[in-house]
Symmetry: C2
Subunit: 388 residues, 2 copies
Amino acid sequence: MVISAGPRPCVFRSWSRGDDRRQLCAEALALEQSTDSLTPINSLEDRIEAWHSVSGKTIEARVGCIEDGEFLDKAVAEVRPEVVIHYGEQPSAPYSMRSSQTAVETQQTNVIGTLNLLFSMQTHIPDAHLIKLGTMGEYGTPNIDIEEGFIEIEHNGRKDTLPFPKLPGSLYHCSKVHDSTNIHFATRIWGLRATDLNQGVVYGIDTDESVLDERLVTRFDYDETFGTVLNRFCVQAVVGHPLTVYGAGGQTRGYLNIKDTLRCVELAAMNPADRGEFRVFNQFTEQFSVSELAALVQKCASEVGFEVAIESYPNPRVELEQHYYNASNQKLLDLGLEPHPLGNELVQSMLGIIERHRDRVIGRAITPKTKWNPGELEGGALSTAQHT
Amino acid sequence: MVISAGPRPCVFRSWSRGDDRRQLCAEALALEQSTDSLTPINSLEDRIEAWHSVSGKTIEARVGCIEDGEFLDKAVAEVRPEVVIHYGEQPSAPYSMRSSQTAVETQQTNVIGTLNLLFSMQTHIPDAHLIKLGTMGEYGTPNIDIEEGFIEIEHNGRKDTLPFPKLPGSLYHCSKVHDSTNIHFATRIWGLRATDLNQGVVYGIDTDESVLDERLVTRFDYDETFGTVLNRFCVQAVVGHPLTVYGAGGQTRGYLNIKDTLRCVELAAMNPADRGEFRVFNQFTEQFSVSELAALVQKCASEVGFEVAIESYPNPRVELEQHYYNASNQKLLDLGLEPHPLGNELVQSMLGIIERHRDRVIGRAITPKTKWNPGELEGGALSTAQHT
């Protein structure tokens, strides 16, 4: 069973629910902001048909809101899956920082939806395995090495292995920390099995499945709200917009190819957590700073005829622009992940696909508008004493 | 400005809001379960009048739900307080564990209500000081000393001071961890001032104010949902019910007299946090195991003519019954807190007050019914490997 907020083939789709009870999914949120996926996305039913025609496999879909505990509970009770892959959350940090309404919507969709799912699993399928999409952004940028979910702490002569402390950088990232706390609780107290995939920043367009039929193409967002940095830079290069580096560009994060994200989910599903185990995998393959990515895109773009400048923009986020960053990602490698490293070929293939869809690019979606701290003139409140 | 879910004199009162939009407050929740405060509680307006008659001071009340962001925002904008003391949460761990509905209600009331408050403070009163009631239960029972909110971690040759890792023991305690994460975020990113009072288990009845007029008496809950352990044991001793020790009774926690809780809030208000500071005080004065409290109550009760047995009941919670526990509580002492230690005199005074109200005791409220893990026959899922 896959619970999805996005357009992937799935059994469930979830929507966030505003106070006005509008039903919104990822596409609708983009529409609301007058942006859209660069790649044209077919309807859920079309995509399920396409998958059937290329694979012979049938996906059953149920459409509803996971905040609606009754809907979710009925679906879980009837389907009785062995594995639940939970993609059903509001996934954008900038969206969560737009207003109090979008922040509340984000935390309500993510926290209450996941809490409903935990109760349904406890009631109907306590032996099933929950695979949940977390984010590397839960950790923030601490001044120590980032471990995978837990850290052994020695303190005043005693030792314990405890949840790794979190410094989430947006109210979306906070919601993911809340989820981690609730899921860890459900494994400790109810004995559920769970794997939290703390995913880095995803880039790329094609997957092994999406290339089989053009109706299976994945979303490709390039706007400030849903687009990730490398995808954004590639679109900017094609349309001739200076690459939007925020501030000094020293922000370093973990990244991975979209093909590797799917392989990681597959590896987690094939190797389930034990009963009572809350397993955290850091799901990225390489670390880059924003400046390094901008330089890579500029160079690759130039080689295929797109000359583009790199410009520093006032950072709309409150974050350190120079910091220590070293995160562990060993556990998925141990399970057999073979990473696709980022190289010129991948970037140039993306530039080619983007050029094919160039007429769909909406220019106003490119520059950032959502400020983390609207009250501050510049740079926000984060000082060197950020952690306390 | 005091935001309250309980019956204390306050400017605001908040209610949790179920899907059916019933408006419930702490009293209504107790009513729903056919329990009530041992002490008879007057209406909010009666209590405000009583306070005016003994102190000459006027308290302005606004009644609404803090999940209703519009209501809260209007009140904050109009009152523009220098300090906000936030008591407006669903405060019961057993209540949060009764069903998926009560769990969702707890996390929604607490997380979304507090998030609304943070946005209103950022918008209208960014220089004001938030004093938030947290709980020692956020930490759980780690195998290392518990510090006040943050811990310096040395790891692979590098150091950082990071949020103390949390192991909350119920979905209510999880909601308080979520609050801590959101409030810390608001201090780091928006520069708000906040003090989180991680309170231990409160006991006692009288405060310096409540003894001035009987209409000002505080709630005294003794049921499994809202009653705390020492209060429950004292009621059990008076009505001749065996003291309900859960399991082996080795559960050790921090405790404090209700008079000290009020003094701690006052000390925090008089010594505000800095801009951008998230300050955590562990608010308890002594540590006891459940067995120690049962023995104390049995002895004190016997001296005033109540003979009562101590009985071990199957533990409805999933928790360790023997564990290391050593928590720091230095910061409030440094600000001038002079603790009222627990002694025979206090217990016997409580027994006397309880005897006066003995005819109000509802017998069925005494034994525990809410199980943390309804699926398990005994003891739940928590093993020695509880932390991971």
